[in-house]
Symmetry: C2
Subunit: 211 residues, 2 copies
Amino acid sequence: MNFIQNPAQIENRSMEIIAPYIADLNLTFEETKIYSRIIHAAGDVEYAPLIKIHPNAINSAKSAILRGANIFTDVEMVRTGINKRTLKNFGGEVLCKVADDDTKKFATEKNITRSMAAMRIFGEKLNGAIVAVGNAPTALFEVLRLVREENILPAAIIGVPVGFVGAADSKAELAAQNKIPFITVSGTKGGSSIAVATVNAILYLLDNSRD
Amino acid sequence: MNFIQNPAQIENRSMEIIAPYIADLNLTFEETKIYSRIIHAAGDVEYAPLIKIHPNAINSAKSAILRGANIFTDVEMVRTGINKRTLKNFGGEVLCKVADDDTKKFATEKNITRSMAAMRIFGEKLNGAIVAVGNAPTALFEVLRLVREENILPAAIIGVPVGFVGAADSKAELAAQNKIPFITVSGTKGGSSIAVATVNAILYLLDNSRD
């Protein structure tokens, strides 16, 4: 069988292939890791000019993780993909309420999406936490409303919802505000895999067992 | 708040936006559903010319689900995203072994990826089942080896691993064989979200509670 089968070799080779596509962006070491993991997770170098990292986003997210902050996700796929082992070492956990009965009931009553309802129910728990939205623009709009109208202050928002209805607008609104450090991707692209890649890139920066 | 919040409206509007990008491809009704869900899940209309559906793939996958076949996935994110409610109605379940202790042990011994080891351990269980590979080219290469060398015969292979190391090659090999009906995406793009979108599109074709 003529293909690379060793996980570390696969990752290193992938990062080598991606490097030229981000060489001109003057990224820091840490930004390079995040860009590379996003591009790797999408198999799409056209992400390079779309990624937006607020100057304080990486430090704020790292500090939050180090003090044991939780990560709140919009959908179960994002919760599943995040590296829980590293997060748990610092005391945090990954939480998602989209499939809970109270969330479904609330969403049906209000005729809103379940992931939007879940963020509203989290409410003050998002203070000082990391929010990762990979799927639902409505969830990101709701988090931004909580910030704006209810003075909820997450440590960082990873907001990369995907699709043609609201995703680009919700991410433009995230990038236009300056109250909460953020990482996002402009336009219609994004998704759960991109949210997971971003969060895990940050977690790996804190994991001394990895180089 | 000036954005669509109703889930059915969001989905319908998204499908309307995607329609012109696939209008020239002469797709069947069922193929249109699969293309639309993939493009929606990626937020990327450039998927349209990359998607390859074997002429018998949709029927073979539907028949398998109707007789209660299981779906085997390479990673937990794919397992998480698949609509279990619809599958369960027909008696099937979604199985993934990538995080199991015996898989880890086997992968370490052989110095191969865990998702590749997991497929080898599944072995004959893949006969008549649906295989969904969203992340790991090595898992897809292993499934194709099981087909070729051990005469394992899945009902259909949804093979959309992502990235720059092996993904394009593994998908080219999938599309070049004619023994097992397949759905794939050429090139480096793909991922867990794409595998999930494909499987769920097929499940929704069988779900009379949805239009």
